[in-house]
Amino acid sequence: MAERIVPGSVIDGFVVGPHVHSGAMGNIFEVTKPGLDGPMIMKVPRVGPNEPSEGIISFETEATIVPALSSPHLPRFIAAGDLARTPYLVVEWIEGRSLEEVLAGGPLPPLEAARIGAALADALHSLHEQEAIHLDLKPANVILKDDGTVALIDFGFAHHARFPDLLAEETRFGAGSKAYVSPEQIQGTREDPRSDLFSLGVVLYEMVTGTFPFEPDTDVRNRLWLDPVPPAVLVPETPPWLQEVILRCLDPRAERRYQSAAHVAFDLRNPEQVVLTARARKSVRLGIMQHVRRFLHARRELGVRLRETNVPAGRPPIIMVAVDTAHPDDERQGAIQRATQQILSLSQEFRVVCVSVIRSVPLMDGAAESETASGIHFEHLVRLRHWVEPLRMPVQRISLHAIESENPAEALLEFANRNHVDLIVLGAPGPTRPDRSWWRSVASTVTANAKCSVHVVRVADRAVTSR
């Protein structure tokens, strides 16, 4: 049986202070700990034979996901107790006002709603970049900080691609908060970041109009087909571009919404860039038939745009990708691979040369084949071959090179110049890897001295999930 945590308790050095909040999941207390600065809160689940299991599963979900996240838009993880003995989670207390409190005073001017919406989209982008989805976005979980940015709290319903989804099978617990939940979540999908963009659309709608696009008291499934009242009908000063953004977020089909939170943030900050469709000036709800027609129309438009993709003229360009085969599990490998894939998707003509610069090997041969110079060289070629496999390139368009050199930047530049490379793709230095500080100079030296374009692939700043 778990220890009882009350104000005054001392748990693993944390002094439990006043009770802050009591929610469905459990209790929240202020805590302090000698040696740790800044306000902190401790979340404690309700455990016991008569408590619903939702609370403990939500708690476990949050305690698994929060430590893997790192961003100014999310609470910083501080400590967690053993789930079987003393379950608790200590995180940074984020100063600010909750959006729920702000909205209690009524709807916001449209431009203020757009400003907060953009900050909220930034926070979602940061979360999605870390392979997590909130899935319970609502004003109560949005904290407006004094510096104008937004933080997200409460990850009890979240999904993270790298951890077992403890809520995946618990369908009877329902999905998210009724007013904000996306159509696909209602159908049991928990793996689509665009679900958060639907909820963002609901929050934007609520900020502008003070009401919900889909009445929470009605059957939640109606949002699969129901067309919401356009915001400008309720608040005539809503600019067409803002209505466009809101209604695009609220599209029942995820593929017709914005595809990333970053795009929503961009549009909310650059109204002149928003592509206005019929949605922008809609002043009545659509009927079902019109809805279907609008979908078919959009699909035709998209088809035209795809056919217009520019194919570069002239000889097939050569792309050189610098692959660090000494660290095959490094996070940047995936990012570089994705960047390469994106570049390759532009044309069928590109050629790819993959280059790994390996430190010179002493000529003295080791005992085993794998320790000899040729063995090590071969090992790196094998890893390169493994690295290019997901690109599914025909062999005649690809070549692999392991170059021995004590000066990686010089080796890469020389190789690129000699082979008339058109584009160099390489990873940006990570900020928190002192053991790879040499790579910092490689990226900058190559960028500064290359005769061609250089694509420096950066991985979003985040905590690696190893603990």
Binding site: S53, I56, I57, E60, T64, L83, A84, A161, R162, F163, P164, D165, L166, A168, E169, E170, R172, P328, D329, S370, F378, V382, R383, R385, H386, W387, E389, P390, T465, S466, R467
Partner: protein
Amino acid sequence: MILALLSDLHANLEALHACLRHATERRAERFAFLGDLVGYGADPAAVIDLVAEHAARGAVVVQGNHDAAVANGMGGLNDAAAESLEWTRKVLSPAHRAFLASLPLIVRHDDICFVHATADAPERWAYMETNGAARQSIEAAATTYTFGGHVHQQVLYFHTLTGKVAPFHPVAASPVPMPSHRRWHAIVGSVGQPRDGNPAAAYALFNPAAEEMTFFRVAYDHIATAAKIRRAGLPELLARRIEDGV
């Protein structure tokens, strides 16, 4: 002590060497081999020797369906398997066959159950393809953790608090928390014959102190392995599977 879990080696010596080296670099001190040491591949004797060395030093080894078929002289499930089993039987010494015959179907150690297929009926070699099958195995194991192979893919089944079982498809090299208040069945993938389109060898490391498992994919010279299979005169299909990882 970090425990390396290797299954479905299928007489692939290059892949086994690569995984053992990878595990040792990551401070693995205990080893468990979860069956199907032989079948399909060209190096059954060398693989058995290597596994037997580890067994002599305390590694857990359980029997797989291919091992049982070679030891007991039974036929294979399909033509290529049957042909490779017959070939394997011919190239193995009586001592090798005796080693395979001596392997247990299931081993329970501390709070871990080791089995090739499923813990509820290990001798039936059932493929764990549904959540219900995983639940039966987890419940029959009666341990917190069950580690197995047989399906040649990396999947982690976990018991939810309401008694259901759900699958999780792990991301390579990313540690997965496996707290002991839940029960788990990890399928660690195949060292010697991956079938998910990625030819890299699959295995996993379990850290009991941290209650955490990391699934890995390890690149090795699979082209050389495929060439060996061809040279041995084994069915072409088996070489292609190694090259394409299917």
